[in-house]
Symmetry: C2
Subunit: 157 residues, 2 copies
Amino acid sequence: MNIGDAARASGVSAKMIRYYEDTGLIPPAARTAAGYRVYAEQDVHMLRFIRRARDLGFSVEGIRELLGLWRDRDRHSADVKRLALAHVAELRQKIRELEDMASTLETLAECCHGNDRPDCPILSELEAPGADGAVPAKRAGAIKALPATGRRQGPRS
Amino acid sequence: MNIGDAARASGVSAKMIRYYEDTGLIPPAARTAAGYRVYAEQDVHMLRFIRRARDLGFSVEGIRELLGLWRDRDRHSADVKRLALAHVAELRQKIRELEDMASTLETLAECCHGNDRPDCPILSELEAPGADGAVPAKRAGAIKALPATGRRQGPRS
DNA sequence: GCTTGACCTTCCCACCATGGGAAACCCCAT
DNA sequence: ATGGGGTTTCCCATGGTGGGAAGGTCAAGC
């Protein structure tokens, strides 16, 4: 199986498969005499594992740990659980931050007439925040525009 | 006022002020004979505006639009409101995706004994998803490790 | 005046995960 | 043998942010 077939079968793009190999997330693939990477069902299995972990929002580093446990037949499920719950905590933290932003902004928008006049409480608040601390004090980064949802190189869509 | 002072006064790091200038988000600052950037209160005002918009999760491009409206005395508050509500919708969308991930993972974790035995439903699900579609089909990117919350160059902390 | 330390300048590099594209090569079917 | 589609490596871009080096500047204290 060539890399393109593995990509289609796993839902991980060929580009990313090479990247995962480069960064040591997955072991180097076998090669044909001509240098083509060759994949077996087992490799596709692993790629699918990775793909699903990404779908659950794990970072590549997180996946590295998950893969370690996956391959370790003597693993303790407690370790997996700990990893998973730590990730859930991160997700919930992020959700809280986004929710704070959204509700603040929504509140401001509700106060805005939304007509053809220039006065606008949203801009006023950005100019000089009210003492009510409507704008949260903490940074959490912009909304990383949802990276093109939907598998880009998935099984022939 | 030099760039360091403007940074402290606005909560935007000197690095980022230069970056915003480079990318045209803010106009080029005046310079001393020696080439030092010089800022007036008005510039700090604008930087604070930017800073607060970032705190609300706006992207730099979004801020570019906000700044345009801010500077336009003939703006329609409806345009500001539309921008704000569109951003709220983005935030809520992202929240939904993260919430899906978190709840899926939490459910799986609840089913995991979390002991010293190797069998673990979390890994099983990653290996081969149950037909219940526990793993969401869409990608939303990993959790971009919360970028160092707290103003890094804030007003003399 | 001279030194010292804090500041400023530009330029390059790194992160993370992903895609785009070029130049070259390979394989298979007609 | 030719053409089309696969593959290889390599470089570049994204977005926002920081780190750091090499060199210029300024102000305070001696």
